[in-house]
């Protein structure tokens, strides 16, 4: 099949990793007029100098160097755009605020939502590009209903559709995912065959701006130590111990509680207003559902309720559920059977088979008839 890609301009978001590098190469070979862009999200002059060490993160100065060298190697123009302020405002501040609200944020979705598919897409349009492309493992297909559908990547181990639930029809119409139909080994193979300098490069880590993975230290450097310390309690409010800040805890966490108890205890809830960390047995981690807000439907739902399966975190196998649409872009999700560790601040993403129907941000564990305060959780 010969597509008419002649002179169609596409901006590829290059992180300096193997995925976006191969994506750039594939687009070039398909005949697009490809421009590489990297986002500068840190002021490296202060960041690197202060720490004085090399960071293995997405979008570090070393990664921008790699992206530039790959662009030179494959012969496409390459630029770096300065999104320091925007990254600070939309991603880092949100990340910190969420932890201090007792939630566990997902900065990668925010970065996709606010930076890549808004600001970077706008920048691409400024440069006369029809499309923005990324190295995400996900697919976009136009189906007979005339709508664009977002599908899982073909590599089940690498599928990144979870991170893309915020995309709109308008954004999808200007987005390309060249790696959607590929597996990671295939991508590495293409990189090696074309002698891309990043062919052997390791995967980027979880949170790019927390290079040592010590997010607690990061939060305390941002907002200071000793805030939100308080009691560790059980579901009846009985005090079991003390903690140094609610933001140190995540739902489902078992380690670091410092409480001796006949049964293993897990964090089952965080009450940032009362500075309380609520713990319980493994059984108490299970809830019947959740409520979520800021819901985006990639294709409009047919009725008031939707039978689907959902992922409540990235590394989660979809579980069957019923989604009830509420007013104000909110939904209630009822799992077919209780699910463990529903975590406010994470995204819930709805699937039907391989298709992403939409998603939203988890506000609360539990459903209307069996929610927090009704016995299941405090």
């Amino acid at each position: 099949m010969v597509r008419d890609n002649k002179k169609k301009r596409v901006v590829i978001a290059m992180s300096g990793g193997v995925d976006s590098s191969v994506a750039a190469l594939l687009l070039r070979d398909e005949g697009y007029d490809v421009i590489g862009l990297s986002m500068q999200i840190w002021d490296y002059s202060t960041f690197v100098a202060k720490e004085g060490e090399k960071f293995g993160t997405c979008c570090s100065l070393d990664d921008i160097y790699d992206a530039r060298r790959v662009a030179e190697q494959i012969g496409i123009p390459f630029y770096v755009v300065n999104f320091e302020e925007e990254f600070r405002r939309h991603v880092i501040d949100d990340f910190v605020d969420e932890y201090f609200r007792g939630r566990t944020p997902n900065p990668c979705v925010r970065c996709n939502q606010r930076l890549k598919f808004e600001l970077l897409l706008a920048k691409a349009r400024d440069l006369g590009a029809e499309y923005i492309a990324t190295g995400h493992y996900a697919r976009i297909e136009r189906e007979s209903d005339g709508l664009l559908h977002l599908l899982k990547g073909a590599d089940p181990g690498k599928d990144q559709s979870y991170f893309l639930f915020t995309l709109t029809q308008e954004q999808l119409a200007h987005t390309l995912f060249p790696l959607g139909g590929m597996t990671k080994p295939e991508v590495r193979e293409i990189a090696a065959r074309n002698k891309l300098r990043v062919a052997e490069k390791s995967e980027s880590q979880e949170i790019c701006f927390v290079p040592d993975d010590d997010y607690v230290r990061f939060l305390e450097e941002e907002r200071g130590q000793g805030r939100l310390s308080g009691d560790i309690v059980d579901k009846s409010g009985r005090k079991l111990g003390r903690h140094d800040g609610t933001y140190r805890y995540t739902i489902g966490q078992r380690r670091g509680l410092g409480i001796s108890h006949p049964e293993p205890l897990y964090v089952t809830g965080i009450d940032a207003e009362r500075n309380e960390v609520i713990v319980g047995t493994k059984q108490e981690l299970y809830t019947s559902g959740l409520t979520a807000s800021e819901v985006n439907w990639i294709t409009p739902p047919a009725g008031e309720t939707v039978e689907a399966s959902c992922k409540i975190r990235y590394r989660h196998s979809p579980v069957p559920c019923t989604v009830t649409i509420l007013h104000g872009n909110r939904v209630e999700v009822r799992f077919d059977s209780p699910e463990k560790s529903v975590t406010p601040g994470q995204a819930v993403v709805f699937y039907r088979g391989d298709e992403v129907l939409g998603g939203g941000w988890i506000d609360k564990a539990g459903t209307g008839d069996q929610g927090p305060g009704t016995g299941e959780m405090r």
Partner: protein, 381 residues
């Protein structure tokens, strides 16, 4: 391809390339050597020294060749600071200096020196009276640029020279952007130190000079052998120095006619933009300005989109200053001038040079309005 970024660097002039090539071939000697190979190049370095001296009106013995303009600035500031420590620890400079001066001053501040940063007005002009008022008995050095790299605005060098001489304070002038574009008078303006760079006037990168008045007390930055009258150790970059000399000679010969020609092109560009594109603002004093530089803000546009779009059309210009990643950041020079940050974000610098023609200016004028209009439309969304 159209190159209008001559304040960043200039193409090497063909005559300059011709002049330097023998020093990468048969004339390979070390100028410090006594034998034929050394003698063959020693004379060339001396001749270049005279050519540089002629361009800035100093004595050839006052020319110290360096690796670049930044080295010359570092040597002036750190060298004077170290040598004059017993006299005082106060240095006066301006907020609009090149990073080679500003960051060196920041370094010295961390080392215990006192730094006064003088403001400029909305047109980028320095008030000599403010400079005079800032001088204290502890002041050892005044450092003011001859011409600003971003706006092209000229400093009142003669007046500052008089003030500095009256208070017996050293005066260092960063003339990296001015050299070859406007006359420089080291002696007449009573300068103590002056920084130059080769690649801004048609020589290759990797050579510069610090002009240091005879008897001026400053420590070397690089210690070692006795090259450059003990002011700067290290085997000379002979080919670079020869090229620098040749470029200065050409600049000297052509300055009057070439400056007028380039000013005419710049004005054609400036008037063309003003008449074709609404809501633009010229940054910097309209008269007291280098003949080749146009710094202009486009309201409602991001400079990086503008710069990238022009690049994709083969037109090279620049904006603000770059981070180590290559991303743009808002210009501290425009901020110091009190330009609204939103407007400053949409600022471009066109800097013309000897290769530019009226046809090229017209091509820019053909392309630019459409790009600005497109970006303004997309910004409204």
């Amino acid at each position: 391809m159209i190159y209008m970024d001559h304040n960043a660097t200039t193409p090497v002039r063909p005559e300059v390339l011709e002049a330097l090539l023998p020093y990468y071939r048969e004339h390979f000697g070390n100028p410090s050597s006594i034998h034929w190979a050394g003698r063959a190049v020693k004379g060339a370095v001396d001749a270049a020294r005279e050519q540089v001296a002629a361009l800035v009106n100093c004595d050839p013995s006052e020319v110290v060749f360096t690796s670049c303009g930044s080295e010359a600035d570092n040597m002036a500031l750190k060298g004077v600071a170290a040598a004059q420590r017993d006299r005082g620890n106060h240095i006066i400079t301006t907020r609009v200096e090149h990073p080679a001066v500003l960051n060196t001053c920041l370094y010295l501040e961390n080392q215990g020196y006192e730094i006064t940063l003088l403001d400029v007005d909305r047109e980028g002009m320095l008030d000599p009276a403010a400079l005079e008022a800032a001088i204290t008995p502890r002041t050892i050095l005044v450092s003011v640029m001859h011409a600003n790299n971003e706006t092209g605005v000229l400093s009142p060098v003669g007046t500052i020279g008089e003030i500095a001489a009256r208070y017996k304070v050293y005066f260092h002038c960063d003339a990296v952007q001015a050299a070859g574009k406007v006359p420089i008078d080291f002696k007449g303006n009573q300068l103590t130190l002056l920084a130059l760079s080769g690649h801004k006037l048609g020589a290759p990168k990797g050579v510069g000079a610090l002009i240091a008045r005879k008897g001026a007390k400053l420590h070397p930055l690089i210690h070692g052998g006795s090259q450059e009258r003990n002011r700067r150790a290290g085997t000379e970059n002979v080919a670079g120095i020869v090229a620098f000399g040749k470029a200065c000679e050409l600049a000297m010969q052509e300055m009057a006619s070439e400056s007028a020609r380039i000013a005419e092109l710049r004005d054609r560009l400036e008037q063309g933009i003003m008449s074709r594109i609404p809501d633009v603002r010229i940054n910097g004093h309209r008269e007291e300005r280098l003949p080749n530089t146009l710094n202009i803000s486009f309201a409602g546009v991001e400079a990086d989109s503008l710069l990238l779009s022009l690049d994709l059309e083969g037109i090279a210009v620049s904006s603000g200053s770059a981070c180590s990643s290559g991303a743009l950041k808002t210009s501290p020079v425009l901020a110091a001038m009190g330009i609204d940050p939103v407007l400053a974000r949409g600022s471009l610098r066109f800097s013309l040079g000897w290769g530019n023609s009226a046809t090229e200016v017209d091509r820019v004028l053909q392309v630019l309005p459409g790009i600005v209009e497109r970006l303004r439309k997309s910004g409204e969304k």
